[in-house]
């Protein structure tokens, strides 16, 4: 989902990818919380991370802490050893899982518009 062209091998890229996806998750949080509440939104994201943790073990860290508390130092500490391509794939899968979950809850009331917004946001990431 993220636009190409960056240096995929650099740690800068890793941080950029992480920040972009975390920003996307924050957007989901901002848009979904008013409708479904904080507890549901948190479970939506953390439940998605848990279900994907078998394929992408580095997503475990999102289960243990609220995604709103994730800071650059946490990203550096938790995701420092993850291959950038793997990281991008994992975070993208997380986003897809969140949207799939949202669709199971509210059908087409929120998910399509929000998905469009998040896609635009990620495409604008340098």
């Amino acid at each position: 989902m993220l636009s190409g062209g960056a240096d995929h091998s650099s740690s800068v890229y890793r941080e950029k990818v992480t920040q972009a996806y975390l920003q996307a998750i924050h957007t989901i949080d901002d848009r979904v919380t008013p409708f479904l509440g904080k507890a549901t939104t948190r479970v939506l994201v953390q439940g998605s991370a848990r279900r994907l943790a078998e394929t992408y073990p580095f997503l475990h860290f999102l289960e243990k802490m609220p995604y709103t508390d994730v800071s650059p130092s946490v990203v550096h500490e938790q995701l420092g050893g993850v291959v950038p391509a793997q990281l991008a794939a994992g975070l993208d899968a997380l986003l897809q899982e969140c949207f799939a979950g949202l669709k199971e809850l509210t059908g087409n009331l929120i998910a399509p518009h929000l998905l469009e917004e998040v896609r635009r946001q990620l495409e604008q990431t340098p």
Partner: protein, 590 residues
């Protein structure tokens, strides 16, 4: 100024109009929220919550069915699923609902549950007044057109999920989603309250059943059980205790009056003793098996109670220092006492019967000894000493001496058995006379020394005047019993020391040995009748455990005290005290 004033007034009216609309809309919203709130607050069980939910949601949407999935037990991971249809549904539609609920439950991190499992646990809760108003035949539509799965949250915890389904597409509105979530929140709080109420009721029911079970057990007990408050007033008692207290004509209806006060106005003196026991327990002591004679009748064996009592501590305090009352167990041991009396009477009769032949045997033995001694004295003038020792008469004399010694031992045993019976029933009559305690000790030491060749018995009289008014024979018996033990339990010989001291108005006698000693564990029991210390060191010593019991009874009958200090392996010291003159109330027997 005029045109400007006109504009301002117009703008003001417009503003009033806008605010008026806003206020009207706000009032309408508040009325709606108020109505919802009242519906849910009035619901006292989950079915009423379902009805409140259904009627509220039907104000917003037209839908085919709603369902509520609730976690029943977060530990056992069990669920409850209620389906509330707005009109009859066909099976395919219900199956599609189950699929949707199962998928959404996984999204909100509920433990995995399949559509089939949900179908098995589903409960169809169709309200009569709402569900069947449209049509009686199920709809032919099999697929879900639109749905909503809204988690039910209480204090940021998801407790379940509200689901809405309809056969048509695009029924649910994003504009109303926030309001739907709010209604779900109301429903969640109402359902949680119902759950807590049900749990509270279940706990009360369990507690009440447990209480009834305990009451049944307590009332079935043969032992009397009574409980007091911290003032010592009886707060509850079982049937057996009621029966026992009824005999004392205790006004049991006066539950707030302390037992001590009730006892003061009651003829049954044992109630005062019972009040003493309760007071001791209220002071933090545990009383075990205290015997009370609860009957003033002339029965050979009166009603006798064994009472145990313990303080009841406040369990809410971690240190458990506050005493809330006392629990006492009253055990009727009269039949036990009757049995004991029969046993003692039997022992007494047997002892008396043994005494007569024993006296005869003793007399004839002494007669034979004297005759042989006379004969040997005559022979010793003509024969050398070693030849005399080899004579058959000398062998006979040795045998007769052994017979006499054993007869003496048997006589002491029989006397002890007779004394035991007397002590047990308070028939130990003392014959007071004036004598010097030092003389009695000296004579007792002399006699003990004869049969204790390996021991050296010292006597230390540490008083210039040992004049005493007591039963001389009984005091000799006390000293003899303690000295016998001192010699018996120091088999390696060694030293035994008897010391007499004057202490104010009484004398204190101590008898120390260097024998096997007694562990402090046995101190409480060593003066009990038939008590024998059971350990490896004492196993080889004979005896039936009456000497110290009788010694204690004699000393206490004189108004004195008896105790010991000891260490295993280093020996024991037994002490007893005697008042120089009998105390008031201990009149000499006539």
């Amino acid at each position: 100024m005029q045109p400007q004033q006109k504009v301002t007034a117009s703008a003001y009216r417009s503003l009033i109009g806008q605010n008026g609309d806003r206020l009207a809309a706000l009032r309408q919203q508040m009325d709606f929220i108020n109505t919802i709130g009242k519906r849910f607050v009035a619901a006292i069980d989950r079915f009423q919550v379902h009805r409140a939910l259904l009627s509220t949601l039907q104000d917003l949407y037209h839908f085919s069915a709603c369902s509520i999935l609730l976690e029943e037990d977060p530990i056992e991971l069990t669920f409850q699923l209620s389906i509330i249809p707005s009109h009859p549904l066909n099976q395919a539609f219900i199956a599609a609902m189950m699929e949707s609920i199962a998928r959404a439950a996984e999204v909100i991190d509920f433990p995995r549950v399949t559509a089939d499992e949900l179908a098995l646990m589903a409960y169809l809760d169709a309200p009569d007044d709402l569900a069947w108003s449209d049509s009686a035949t199920p709809s032919a539509v099999t697929g879900i057109g639109d749905f909503l799965n809204i988690p039910l949250t209480v204090e940021n915890r998801i407790i379940g999920m509200l689901s809405l389904f309809d056969e048509r597409e695009g029924v649910f509105d994003a504009e109303l989603l926030q309001l739907t979530t709010m209604i779900a929140d109301y429903a969640a709080v109402a359902l949680e309250n119902v759950r807590l109420r049900e749990r509270e009721r279940a706990l009360w029911r369990d507690a009440e059943m447990e209480r009834q079970r305990l009451v049944l057990i307590i009332n079935s007990m043969a032992e009397g059980l009574l409980i007091t408050n911290e003032e010592g007033a009886i707060t509850s008692l079982n049937n057996s205790a009621q029966h026992l207290l009824f005999q004392a004509r205790l006004p049991l209806e006066e539950t707030s009056t302390p037992l001590r006060r009730l006892a003061a106005f009651n003829e049954a003196k044992w109630l005062t003793d019972l009040a003493d026991i309760i007071d001791k327990a209220l002071a933090g002591h545990i009383i075990m098996g205290h015997e009370l004679v609860a009957d003033a009748s002339d029965e050979a064996v009166p009603l006798t109670l064994s009472i145990s009592a313990a303080p009841l501590y406040d369990s809410r305090q971690s240190m458990q220092t506050r005493i809330l009352g006392v629990v006492a167990v009253l055990n009727d041991i009269t039949s036990h006492k009757q049995l004991e009396k029969l046993k003692d009477e039997f022992v007494s009769i047997v002892s008396h019967e043994l005494r007569t032949p024993l006296t005869t045997i003793k007399g004839y033995t002494q007669h034979l000894i004297r005759r042989i001694e006379r004969r040997l004295r005559g022979t010793s003038a003509t024969l050398p000493a070693n030849a005399v020792a080899e004579l058959p008469e000398s062998y006979d004399l040795r045998s007769l001496n052994i017979m006499q010694s054993q007869t003496d031992h048997l006589e002491r045993l029989v006397n002890d058995l007779l004394d035991l019976s007397r002590v047990q029933w308070g028939e130990l009559n003392l014959h007071y006379s004036s004598f010097y305690l030092a003389d009695v000790l000296a004579e007792s030491v002399r006699l003990a020394q004869i049969s204790a060749e390996q021991h050296t018995i010292f006597l230390d009289i540490d008083t210039p005047d040992s004049k005493l008014v007591a039963d001389k024979l009984r005091i000799s018996q006390v000293v003899g019993n303690i000295l016998d033990n001192a010699v018996k339990f120091s088999p390696q010989g060694k030293q035994v020391t008897v010391i007499l001291k004057e202490q104010g108005k009484e004398f204190q006698v101590s008898i120390s040995d260097r024998g096997i000693g007694v562990s402090p564990d046995f101190f409480d029991h060593i003066f009990e009748r038939f008590y024998r210390v059971r350990n490896t060191a004492s196993r080889q010593y004979s005896g039936i455990g009456m000497g110290l019991f009788i010694a204690k009874a004699i000393v206490e009958a004189h108004g004195g005290g008896i105790w010991l200090s000891s260490n295993p392996g280093t020996g024991s010291t037994f002490y007893f005290t005697l008042p120089k003159v009998p105390r008031t109330g201990m009149l000499p027997a006539v």
